[in-house]
């Protein structure tokens, strides 16, 4: 094991370097092979779903090919019309009606609270911070039943309010935590200079902190967007009338109604359902990576 260059002739070390280089090359080839193979296995189901959406129903499970032998838009047309009196477009809009307020409220409340935590001396600050971390780890199912009863008392059942109202109060500790971490890493000299120039804390927040926080704010917005679009349990509990269904409930409905026979329709709508998320992710993937690593590595 003890390979040393000491006492080796030049020729010997030359051949050693060559052997090492060859080993490097083989190593790289093996790595690419592993990465490609794993990547293919992982993404194949997604590609298959997109292609299945264009296949007629009888072809979906009879061939493994990603290219439809018989190109058909029936899945999209019938799927879009759904078995209900509404089109799938309606369910899309419904989703937006609570996802957008959710994202906006989360960003505003989380930034304000994170600013308070990161820049101010607060009574019992340590205690509040511990509760913040604790809420990240708290299983939400323990809150579910009383929250349901609260919103029932307030007459908010079958509306989107229960889904986004709590976001106005920075209830998702993860985002506050992420912003605090980011703020702590920012230099404060700009703020100090502005303070000397007579800015009050509100102006500091709006004119200096928010612009510097922009990448982290975008990360928060993106994560909240994805999580809210994917959320299923929330709408399942609170939304009961079909006219208010978001995509998640509509997809579950379609698979229940057809009992999993009209796969081309179901997979076509499932494909459409994930397109916005994929597009947003591909455009803004750096924000995702930065957001998740700033919370993770520093935390």
């Amino acid at each position: 094991m003890n390979k040393t260059f000491v006492n080796r002739s030049v020729a010997e070390s030359n051949s050693y370097v060559k052997a090492e280089l060859r080993k490097e090359k083989i190593g790289a080839a093996v790595r690419y092979f592993i990465l490609l193979l794993c990547g293919l296995v992982m993404l194949y189901p997604l590609f298959w779903m997109f292609s299945a959406a264009f296949k007629p129903n009888h072809e979906i499970f009879s061939s493994l090919s990603l290219w439809p032998s018989e190109f058909s838009l029936d899945g999209f047309i019938n799927g879009w019309n759904t078995g209900t009196e509404y089109t799938f477009g309606r369910f899309f809009l419904n989703t937006l009606w609570y996802v957008l307020p959710k994202v906006i409220l989360t960003v505003i409340s989380s930034v304000i609270v994170a600013y308070g935590f990161a820049r101010f001396d607060i009574p019992f600050k340590k205690f509040w911070f511990v509760t913040l971390v604790a809420t990240i780890l708290l299983p939400t199912s323990v809150l579910l039943i009383p929250q349901y009863l609260m919103f029932r008392e307030m007459g908010m059942l079958d509306s989107y309010m229960p889904l986004y109202l709590p976001m106005a109060f920075a209830t998702q500790g993860f985002f506050v935590f992420m912003l605090i971490q980011f703020l702590r890493g920012l230099p404060t000299d700009m703020e100090e200079a502005a303070q000397i120039d007579g800015c009050n804390s509100y102006q500091l927040l709006w004119y200096i902190v928010v612009p510097m926080l922009k990448p982290a704010i975008i990360s928060v917005a993106l994560f909240q967007f994805m999580w809210s679009v994917n959320d299923f349990l929330g709408p399942l509990i609170y939304i009961s009338s079909v006219e208010k269904y978001p995509i998640a409930l509509a997809l579950k409905l379609s698979i229940d109604v057809t009992e999993g026979t009209q796969w081309n329709e179901i997979l076509a709508m499932a494909s459409i359902a994930i397109v916005p998320s994929i597009v947003v992710f591909l455009i803004a993937q750096n924000y995702f990576v930065e957001g998740i690593t700033s919370g993770g590595v520093k935390g």
Binding site: L35, F120, I136, L138, P139, L143, T171, A270, S277, V297
Partner: protein, 293 residues
């Protein structure tokens, strides 16, 4: 940085209100409700510890609890191992690292959606994609969602499939390991594997711990995948605890028992997390300061 304590309190006041109204109050309220018999129609009736006593003779409770722990213990090691392995391979300054990172991350973005759960049903159903694929090799159709062990496997696989987010965190941690450490080890003649186990892993234990905690708390709460793919079946083999709580409270409207179940889950998770944090003292190394965050 600013001395004005009252102003600071004002800035975090939305959080304090939210904490009291939407977290602390419901948290305690569910404990109170767990001591009652409540069906939403009649007024709640105090029954003491009856709900908790009933659990002792409730077979579904044991089944659901053991299924949940099995699910967590299966998914987390697999997910973290995959995440660390792929991050390790990606960390060899390969070309196209960004492309692979993107490809591996996509399942984490989509994985918890109903759309993907639906896709999973299409893959694992009796005439589904997987059986078709295996049929090419002459394997007879397997009832993936009809056999308890296979159903658990299918649901587990969906979570493991989403290892990308953990991988991205691992990758960032690997990239922050100082190159000089490896160079020193190389001169001493260490193999790649030795470098990985003796240098890399100890240096990133805080990140392994972070991923472990975040992933387990999420796994304990999994709901969508079993609800959509298997409905908890067959024979309650994928009846995760969150499904049991949901059914009890929102299908059978037994809110008292549902709350008691939720509290037991909370206590189980709390104990598990506490043990994890205690154990971290022995295997998590924080460089520089002792203890860390």
């Amino acid at each position: 940085m600013y001395e004005n304590r009252r102003l600071g309190l004002a800035y975090i006041s939305p959080y304090i209100i939210g904490l009291l109204v939407f977290t602390a109050f419901p948290f305690l309220a569910s404990l109170v409700i767990s001591f009652t018999d409540y069906d939403l129609i009649n007024a709640p009736e105090y029954i003491g510890l009856d709900n908790y006593r009933n659990m002792i003779s409730d077979d579904t409770f044991y089944k659901s609890m053991s299924v949940t722990f099995a699910y967590v213990f299966l998914t987390i090691p697999l997910k973290l191992a995959f995440a660390l392995f792929i991050a390790f391979v990606l960390n060899f300054k390969l070309r196209g690292i960004k492309f692979f990172r993107t490809a591996y991350y996509i399942p984490s973005i989509l994985g918890s959606s109903v759309a993907i759960a639906v896709l999973w049903r299409a893959i694992f159903s009796l005439d589904g994609l997987l059986n078709n694929f295996l049929g090419v090799f002459g394997v007879e159709a397997i009832s993936w969602l009809g056999e308890p062990v296979f159903a658990m496997f299918s649901v587990t696989l969906l979570r493991v499939w989403q290892f990308g987010s953990a991988m991205v965190i691992f990758l960032a941690a690997l990239q922050s390991v100082p190159q000089s450490q490896y160079e020193a080890a190389m001169i001493d003649g260490a193999s790649k594997w030795q470098m990985f186990t003796k240098i890399t892993v100890p240096l990133i234990t805080p990140v392994i711990f972070f991923n472990f905690i975040m992933q387990t708390t999420q796994a304990f709460q999994e709901f969508t995948a079993p609800f959509v793919i298997t409905g908890g079946g067959p024979a309650e083999s994928t009846y995760l605890f969150s499904l049991y709580i949901y059914d009890t409270a929102f299908k059978y409207f037994d809110l008292g028992y549902g709350s008691a179940l939720a509290w037991v889950l909370f206590l189980a998770v709390a104990v598990f997390t506490a043990i994890s944090f205690k154990s971290s003292k022995y295997w998590v190394f924080y460089s520089g300061d002792k203890g860390g965050k």
